[in-house]
């Protein structure tokens, strides 16, 4: 079997497993956890598309998530706009944010982009608290409408968006565009010497990354029916980066797997109650120490080698 066919077969198996999950467990609790995990999958894949491929680390992906989620919140709560529109508006606003940060900082080399993303997210988190008359402060915006009432239907909606996100980003990553992004990771100067407009490709890939992160933010907001300042939190950005590394950076499908895995891991460690974070951290350290290339992507590559 060719590697190409095998990849689609693997995708099919993964999608079938995810589609069967709510029926296998039959509990709304698991479905709820899985919806959040799917959102994390969208966020991890979108982080990977820009930072994983180009090597320009983005330490504030929550900026785009928060921007998308608050856009959904404002439109729905303050203006009563139909929640379906959030799925269009949230990516657009997130792209706007990506331009504000990316345009001045991605033309430069050095840590400016990473730092601007980090501080951009921190500033937005504080602004939501300062302008509490509009944003609801710490309490955030409450009472969003669900896009679909039934949690089971919402699960499939989110799953559909995750699959679309992962397939689109993976196809682009395998296209000439992806080749250029990986070359940027290798050496920006050589890329310029090869006639490639490095700044253009970095900004464009950040815009794509932001759009999908914002979309995930809106899906998350309309599931939680609430948005709060924590959606801009640095810890959210860091968690996404960890998921990417655990899954296998630069592969798109790896980070999706990493996001699902770590979300399920946190939940399954609830039995440890107050020691949960200790155990979680220990497991993470073991994974990253023994499998620095990650878990999901190298595993799949091994299966592929064995099959072909």
């Amino acid at each position: 079997m060719t590697a190409f066919k095998l990849d689609w077969l693997g995708t099919l198996v993964a999608v079938a497993a995810l589609a069967a999950t709510p029926w296998l467990f039959g509990s709304s609790y698991v479905t709820g956890i899985m919806i959040v995990a799917l959102c994390f999958g969208i966020w991890a894949a979108s982080w990977d598309f820009m930072s994983g491929l180009t090597g320009r680390e983005n330490f504030g992906h929550s900026l785009f998530i928060g921007a998308g989620a608050y856009t959904a919140g404002f439109l729905n709560v303050n203006f009563g706009v139909n929640p379906w529109w959030s799925l269009l508006a949230a990516p657009l606003v997130a792209v706007l944010f990506s331009l504000v940060i990316g345009f001045p900082t991605l033309r430069l080399r050095g840590p400016y982009f990473a730092l601007a993303m980090l501080s951009g997210a921190a500033v937005m988190q504080n602004l939501t608290i300062i302008f509490s008359q509009y944003t609801g402060g710490q309490d955030g915006l409450n009472g969003l409408d669900p896009i679909i009432d039934s949690p089971l239907a919402y699960y499939y909606l989110t799953l559909a968006f995750l699959i679309a996100t992962a397939i689109i980003l993976r196809l682009v990553a395998n296209s000439p565009w992806g080749t250029i992004l990986r070359a940027i990771r290798g050496d920006e100067g050589s890329c310029q010497a090869a006639g490639i407009n490095v700044t253009f490709y970095k900004i464009a890939s950040l815009m794509v990354s932001a759009a999908f992160a914002g979309l995930g933010g809106a899906l998350y907001a309309h599931y939680q029916l609430q948005v709060g300042p924590d959606l801009f939190a640095i810890v959210l950005s860091i968690n996404i980066i960890i998921m990417v590394y655990v899954g296998g950076i630069g592969t798109i499908y790896g980070p999706v797997g990493g996001a699902l895995l770590l979300n399920l891991l946190t939940e399954s460690l609830r039995g440890f109650s107050e020691y949960r974070l200790w155990v979680y951290t220990l497991v993470l350290m073991l994974i990253l120490f023994f499998l620095p290339q990650g878990l999901i992507a190298p595993l799949w590559q091994r299966i592929r080698r064995m099959a072909s």
């Binding site: 080749t179 990986r182 070359a183 100067g189 050589s190 310029q192 090869a194 006639g195 490639i196 407009n197």
Partner: protein, 255 residues
């Protein structure tokens, strides 16, 4: 032959160092020209100014009659001026084929054919055709040099700038590379501009030599004349009178 590149009164300072001083020269279409000078003479700086990697202060650079001042490096490449780096700078983690494919995706080259097959053809041309699937991380140094040239060629240049293509190569690797450069010049009609501080390697290769010392052009002429030029001898041997230093000029800088 018409002027392909016209450089007039180029100047660049790095702090208190006047790295390039009123440098002027002309490259003809389809010529092979060398730039000679001891280490620190400003050769690579001139390349960096020509290719937009470092901005120059005063002077003009005309390529096919159009100024290159203020253009970003990738725009200059897309005008038809490609370069290699002194230390090979491949895209780490990617295959040899992908390394060249990236340059095939430059706006100037994109319409010339499917990137992948064009990249393979160029690798065949420089003698790396059999290694296209290898990752660059395992490539020996001599091959990385060829890869640098392949990547530059993939942008379909009219003028190819080679920054010390022979540096760090063993004697057995130098001759095939020199033959490749001659072959490219002959078959593709490329104008080639080579930096070298070892004279022996490019004596037979180049039609004309521009000699640089302390950022200034000290002589321009055919290689046989340049090696006997007093200012060139002085730059290499020093100011003392070494008597017949000029007579042994062909051996200059081979140490």
């Amino acid at each position: 032959m018409t002027a392909l590149l016209e450089v007039t009164d180029l100047n660049k300072h790095f702090g208190g160092l006047h790295a390039v001083q009123n440098v002027s020269f002309t490259l003809k279409a389809g010529s092979i020209t060398g730039m000679l000078g001891p280490n620190g003479a400003g050769k690579t700086t001139v390349f960096n100014l020509l290719t937009g990697f470092v901005p120059f202060e005063t002077g003009t650079i005309l390529f096919e009659g159009a100024p290159l001042a203020g253009l970003a490096p990738h725009r200059i490449v897309n005008r038809g001026v490609a370069r290699t780096f002194q230390l090979a700078r491949p895209f780490a983690g990617m295959t040899v084929l992908e390394n060249v494919e990236v340059a095939c995706l430059a706006p100037r080259a994109r319409h010339l054919g499917p990137p992948r097959s064009r990249a393979q053809a160029i690798l065949d041309l420089v003698g790396l055709g059999g290694k296209s699937a290898a990752t660059v991380d395992v490539l020996p140094y001599g091959d990385l040099r060829r890869l640098e040239i392949a990547r530059a060629l993939a942008t379909s240049p009219k003028l190819l700038l080679l920054d010390e293509p022979f540096a760090g190569l063993g004697t057995s690797e130098i001759e095939p590379l020199a033959n490749l450069i001659t072959e490219l010049h002959r078959s593709e009609g490329l104008a080639i501009f080579i930096i070298e501080h070892k004279l022996r390697e490019f004596m037979q290769l180049v039609h004309e030599v521009i000699a640089l010392d302390f950022g200034e052009v000290v002589a321009i002429g055919p290689p046989a004349e340049i090696v006997r030029h007093p200012r060139v001898v002085e730059a290499y041997i020093g100011r003392d009178d070494f008597g017949d230093a000029a007579a042994t000029g062909a051996g200059l800088g081979t140490a």
